[in-house]
Symmetry: C2
Subunit: 140 residues, 2 copies
């Protein structure tokens, strides 16, 4: 099947430097008391930052490298009183392709580093992509 | 460097079935007159759909398999009068990891297929992840 041949390999463009060192310290959502962090962009990709300015919002896509990729159903928010739900109907990090989606504000641009936040991911989390939030665009 | 070892391989969870067959037919954004399409989820991942309902909005993450991964700066919207800009400050499909981000409405759920739209991607585009839009969540 064509779909099986696609298995593209991700090339991280950078990583997060955060004070959050353990999963137990991480809020489930950025809006739930998460700190600011540094997004360090690798030299090979630094040119891709041209035009990003402090004050704007961006969408950061991360690779949640501690997640379990074989999980298809979870209790939402790890609350066992809530019924098992398909991972595509939840924001669980456990899922076949554990991409994290984070809308954050750019606080500062310092060469190939962005100060961003709030963001709930662990120190060392790989960053896969950055997209601008476009005003007037209904999608985000 | 730790970052280089991460290169995770994506496993598509499905693909888009659309009337858009050529890149020249695709609007640049879903809000610019894009059609509805089918999202066919592969049997291995179908259980992950449990709990998704017609009428809600979801975020579909695709792999834009025709994109050029070596591009770091583009003219926004392919308009050569606009200055070269870093890809992370644009929604260009050309970027190191060509993930597409699409907020769409679920029109219908039919077993392992979702009727969704509007969405601007080509027929056959691999789907990598699906996330719910959470009301009350500020990120999307």
């Amino acid at each position: 099947m064509a779909i099986q041949r696609t298995g593209a390999r991700l090339r991280p463009i950078g990583k997060i430097r955060s004070i959050i060192k353990k999963r137990s310290q991480a809020p489930k959502l950025g809006s739930e008391g998460a700190p600011d962090a540094w997004l360090e962009v690798s030299p090979f990709a630094a040119q891709g930052l041209d035009g990003l300015l402090a004050g704007g919002d961006i969408i950061v896509i991360t690779w949640l490298h501690r997640a379990r990729r074989s999980v298809l159903r979870v209790h939402p928010r790890s609350d066992r009183r809530r019924p098992l739900t398909g991972v595509f109907a939840t924001r669980s990090p456990d899922r076949p392709n554990p991409l994290g989606l984070h809308r954050v504000t750019v606080r500062r641009v310092a060469k190939n580093r962005l100060r961003i936040g709030p963001i709930e991911v662990l120190d060392g989390t790989p960053v896969i992509d950055i997209k601008p939030v476009l005003s007037g665009l209904q999608d985000f």
